[in-house]
Symmetry: C2
Subunit: 235 residues, 2 copies
């Protein structure tokens, strides 16, 4: 039982913890800007909107970086979390599908700030190919594999229409990319080992609507029993 710290760090940061680390990082960056040198788990937890015990347990998975009676060194913790997340290196991102959403993403400054660099924009529409957006030339989707290879793209953002998404995903995966952020409202099927994260606007709104309905039902003493199954239902 020699490798105490190593044991904690190695091969096993819970997924739920990984998802919160960026939150802590953001809060810490704010604190660093305001000149704070150290922060307690309680304060950091409040800033990140979580419970302080959870925060401490999360951080304990990275190692023992706090000082009892004092708290955590802000700069040091920023470095450790950044390193853990892989933010100390530079990630080349390609955006495929340069429509409404793809353009917004390309123009968004928030990526670059933390190790992510938009390295390529790709689209199938000849009307769009050749456009200059955020200092980048939109290239034709035929160039996909070449662009991924040449620019060392390791993360692809999918912002094509739903029908094209699977087909593009297949090519992207075949080209060796194993991390995809998907905005198209489809369930992508990819081989083992490929990570997909999806952002789905419409699902978020539907979840809000569900709770909103419950809230208003409760007020108005809404229907408690299933009503009759009416005739027509639009899609």
């Amino acid at each position: 039982m020699i490798r105490r710290l190593s044991q904690a760090r190695e091969r096993g940061i819970p997924e739920a913890t990984v998802a919160r680390l960026p939150l802590y990082l953001r809060a810490l960056n704010g604190m660093a800007e305001r000149g704070l040198a150290t922060v307690s788990s309680e304060d950091l937890a409040v800033a990140a909107g979580v419970n302080s015990a959870k925060l401490r347990k999360d951080l304990s998975h990275l190692g023992s970086y706090g000082t009892r009676g004092v708290g955590y060194d802000v700069e040091y913790l920023i470095y450790q979390i950044s390193r853990e997340l892989g933010l100390t290196q530079d990630w080349a991102v390609a955006i495929v599908g340069v429509g409404n959403l793809g353009r917004a993403l390309a123009n968004y400054g928030g990526f670059v700030s933390r190790g992510f660099r938009v390295a390529a924009l790709l689209d199938a529409d000849p009307e769009v190919v050749g456009d200059h957006i955020a200092g980048l030339n939109v290239e034709h989707i035929d160039e996909l594999e070449a662009v991924i290879r040449r620019r060392g793209v390791s993360i692809v953002v999918l912002a094509t229409p739903a029908v094209a998404a699977q087909q593009v995903a297949d090519r992207v995966v075949a080209a060796g990319v194993t991390s995809i952020l998907n905005f198209a409202p489809v369930v992508l099927s990819v081989p083992e080992g490929v990570d997909i994260r999806k952002v789905d606007l419409s699902i978020e709104l539907q979840i809000l609507a569900f709770h909103e309905q419950r809230k208003t039902d409760r007020m108005t003493g809404g229907p408690t029993m299933a009503e009759e199954w009416p005739e027509a239902v639009d899609l």
Copy 2:
């Protein structure tokens, strides 16, 4: 123990289930378009990308809508899920912050399709106010409360810069809205009873980067122990 069905339905659909219902709904709509009348839990589960036992358990929370030996009636299930999610009514959505992202959202057709109607666009920039986007006039943020009241807005989408988000959220909540979809990278603080869902691009990318790093580390037999804490760290 009289009210079996009611007991199942009433006051208690697990949050995880609610988050999956939109997925099932989407898959079902696809099947309805292709003319399928019934579907087995197995097939629907595959289409939605989940385990079939999970799907059955999820659906059992809404009631007993399947037929053993046959499966589920596609149209009927679409109706039941829609009703449960509150999609049989029309929701007025306001988008606050009509920049890159706000515009993309306003132009997006995917909302309207399922009970959500963009009823207002609001911005603080006089340059933007008055623009016509997707058939809507961009109104000044000063009109926020009046617009929410007059158009019956019950869901607000926040697409302002991070610094403005909390302030806008406070006004939105004060105006009686209890459902917010937040795109700004901040932890919003709102009173009990207000539902916030956040969509955070940057967090998604960071999670992908984490796993990507692990994958490449494993291949190259990367560092197993924490390295030295280097001098400077950029934010």
